[in-house]
Symmetry: C2
Subunit: 195 residues, 2 copies
């Protein structure tokens, strides 16, 4: 499946027919809260599995941020397959376990009170995720500031102020809105690791 940027792959509370794996591009999953806010729960990079259902319904909405390429398989088919093939299932289990760690990490990030720290951890997370180009020092931020804000549980303005502060202190440079470059690794690590 090739999907253009901004297209909605599935919507929350609809029948969870398919399970997806991302092979190219970046997507996000989010929930619309009754307060009108939008809660971004995850960014999906290549190799990420998504579309796990709860009671046969999708829990979140999935939307492409950049053009993306996905594989999809029917949930029933996958489950039948997993039940038959223990080795395949084990790979899948590893995947879910990894997701669990990510979710727990996310809890830690959101639990931090200071905005600069959260943004630093977020940038570090992206750096790890896209580690293929780790030597190229520029980290891509395909998502909007607003997406980052609702992912980190902060206001859009706080993100802006945090990035400005990182830049002013000479820790991270933002050549443009979708790029970050770590200038002072020592200070950066202190921020992103000192929980």
């Amino acid at each position: 499946m090739r999907v253009p940027a901004r297209s909605v792959v599935y919507r929350e509370q609809t029948a969870a027919t398919w399970i997806f794996i991302n092979t190219e591009g970046v997507l996000k999953t989010f929930k619309d809260l009754r307060s009108g806010r939008r809660w971004v729960t995850a960014f999906l990079f290549p190799k990420d599995v998504f579309g796990l259902a709860k009671n046969g319904l999708y829990v979140r909405t999935a939307q492409a941020i950049t053009p993306a390429t996905l594989y999809r398989i029917e949930s029933h088919a996958l489950i039948a397959l997993l039940r038959r093939d223990a080795e395949l299932q084990f790979q899948f289990l590893s995947k879910v376990t990894h997701e669990l760690r990510e979710a727990q990490r996310q809890t830690i990030v959101v639990g931090r009170r200071d905005a600069v720290g959260r943004v630093a951890m977020f940038i570090q997370q992206l750096e790890c995720t896209c580690c293929d180009r780790h030597n190229a020092r520029d980290i891509e931020l395909p998502m909007s500031r607003s997406d980052i804000a609702s992912y980190l549980g902060l206001s859009l303005e706080s993100i802006s102020r945090a990035t400005a502060k990182l830049q002013r202190r000479g820790i991270v440079a933002f050549p443009n809105r979708h790029l970050a470059r770590i200038l002072d690794r020592a200070q950066f690590d202190r921020l992103s690791k000192a929980i």
Copy 2:
């Protein structure tokens, strides 16, 4: 395995020899942060599995809050078993998927800014967990206020003020430090669900 209250089941960064399942009692898992704070990541109730490793090491410390009874199995043995028995593995996968949902819920809870809302969601979570005695209206809070605070990412004082506020408003009564009783279900639900 029977363990008395306060005993440490395993310590973070030690070799993850065993995987555990709780059958009776309540435990907590936590990380000691370099800031000196203690981050409580989970409370473990009967049927909860814990001790999943990362790179062969435990990620957190597990400690009993009340006297507890556990089963344990060697990680290698379990993995070998799962690789052979797809059906058993599937049950395990379901368990981990459930844990994943819990972790995601926890992110939502911690992401809320208001203390009263977080405490309400926490109490609701406990109510669901111990749903066997749902008709008995008293909810047990075996953990200390301090544990709740570091689980919810709040200060001990904020927990105290939040419970006081819930009590003053007639929404929840706290007959003693380890019990809660929901008095006004409508208001309570509005607090705990209005994300």
